[in-house]
């Protein structure tokens, strides 16, 4: 129970680091959605681009996170602020599940439904917004859910480059060889991941087409 006493004692800092953590995850997920969903739609409509795009996102995923943070450090504007850098790196990691699920979701829409819609004279954007996206939304959101859960975990490493977040406690605890401090970072991070998983999952079910 030492852990909780420690957390209670440092509640302001726990709260502050949690908010920082949320900020890193929130912005990176938002950016990844803004980039990944249109990209996923694009490659679903133009299949010849699907291999290069998915391969690139895949390769990014294989770069060890600590190395990626390190690589980005010398970049001029980005390197000046650790949190910018962390958000960029987290965005890159979140891309793959979002692009892939958007692609899968759109491709999964029954071809006869799309053909009927096109034949009836829906414009390509009406087809996208009224037919394809509503039918693919739950698949896309399950990609977002994976991305968020990964990001919550990865964001703890961002503390290594001074970007803040709950990783601060973890690294500090490691340096001090103090389990309480490590857990003060790890427990809220785990809770955040569960909460995000549950929240997006709920949204996913709400928006599921019949």
């Amino acid at each position: 129970m030492n852990v909780f006493r420690f957390m209670l004692h440092n509640q302001h800092q726990v709260l502050q680091l949690t908010l920082e953590h949320l900020r890193l995850v929130g912005f990176s997920t938002l950016f990844a959605m803004l980039i990944g969903i249109p990209l996923g739609i694009g490659i679903a409509h133009r299949p010849r681009f699907n291999k290069p795009v998915l391969a690139t996102a895949n390769i990014i995923q294989t770069i060890p996170s600590l190395a990626l943070f390190g690589f980005l450090l010398p970049v001029p504007w980005l390197g000046a602020r650790a949190d910018r850098l962390a958000i960029l790196a987290l965005t890159l990691y979140a891309l793959l599940p979002i692009i892939r699920n958007t692609y899968t979701g759109i491709r999964g829409v029954d071809a006869s439904v799309v053909e009927a819609g096109r034949g009836m004279g829906l414009t390509e954007s009406q087809l996208l917004f009224q037919v394809e996206l509503p039918l693919a939304v739950s698949v896309i959101l399950s990609g977002v859910r994976v991305a968020v859960v990964i990001s919550v975990g990865l964001a703890t490493i961002a503390a290594a480059i001074g970007a803040g977040g709950l990783g601060e406690f973890i690294f500090r605890g490691l340096a001090m060889v103090d389990d309480r401090v490590i857990l003060a970072g790890a427990i809220p991070a785990a809770l955040l991941a569960l909460l995000a998983d549950f929240g997006v999952g709920w949204l996913e079910r709400r928006l599921q087409p019949r």
Binding site: D110, S112, V113, M120, G121, T123, P209
Partner: protein, 258 residues
């Protein structure tokens, strides 16, 4: 039969379509007259569906042109063209996340009809295709196959297009439901006099529904005949169809007597 002088509603002029090295359609010429049901009959791969999709420009010809109401359809506004042509396909393609009402009313809605006019039109169409008004609030998966295809027809008719393209619309239905829908189609067509191009590989359906039958084989038009002439035709392919059709009945009848 329609007089030759009348302006055709749809006209194929020397149309060829080639895709990935395969000649799907070659030198295709055909005129579809106002108010007739022209059946494209042929086996799979003969180019029937391709011909149909060339009309509403889901496909574009490699050479030649298709005229719709006298205007080359390549010059028409694509979206306007498609909205003026009803399209019914075998897999129906109802929007699974829309109610029946929204499915039927979609084209009127995107055409900007006021809501009360759309509602009235949907009720009118439901009645026309013989579906109960309360089905309007159901979803496609709650309907039977026959009901779904009726909705497919109603959706195609929603904005009152002059032309109807039907691609094996009753092909996936059981024989009794198919018979029902064919009968309803004939009644509907007696009232509406749409210009219909109807694709099928079923001679029985072609004879029953068509004012004329265009027989296709390997991407070419073999002959165009009215149903009675089709049965008497000496064309080898046409008579092969008729023979195959008759043999099924005969052999069943013969087995019955032994």
């Amino acid at each position: 039969m329609q007089p030759e002088a009348a302006n055709p509603v749809i006209e194929f002029r020397e149309v060829s379509y080639r895709v990935a090295g395969t000649q799907v359609l070659s030198g295709f010429n055909l005129k579809v007259q106002s108010g007739e049901t022209l059946v494209l009959l042929g086996r799979s791969g003969s180019g029937k569906t391709t011909s149909l999709k060339l009309v509403n420009r889901l496909l574009s010809p490699t050479s030649g042109e298709i005229r719709v109401k006298g205007v080359p359809n390549a010059e028409a506004d694509l979206i306007r063209l498609r909205r003026s042509i009803g399209y019914v396909i075998q897999d129906v393609g109802l929007f699974p996340h829309f109610t029946i009402e929204r499915n039927i009313g979609l084209v009127p809605k995107i055409e900007g009809w006021p809501a009360n006019r759309i509602g009235a039109r949907v009720q009118e169409l439901l009645q026309m295709i013989g579906l109960a008004p309360e089905l309007a609030s159901r979803y496609p998966h709650q309907l039977s196959g026959g009901q779904r295809q009726r909705v497919g027809v109603a959706r195609a008719l929603a904005a009152d297009p002059e032309i109807l393209l039907m691609d094996e619309p009753f092909g996936a239905l059981d024989p009794l439901t198919r018979d029902e829908l064919q009968r309803e189609f004939l009644l509907l067509q007696q009232r509406l006099h749409k210009t219909v191009v109807f694709v099928t590989h079923d001679l029985r359906e072609a004879l029953r529904l068509g004012s004329r039958i265009a027989l296709m084989e390997a991407g070419q038009l073999v002959t165009v005949l009215a149903p009675p002439d089709f049965l008497r035709s000496t064309d080898p392919l046409a008579s092969a169809y008729v023979r195959a059709f008759g043999e099924g009945l005969e052999s069943a009848a013969n087995r019955g007597t032994s």
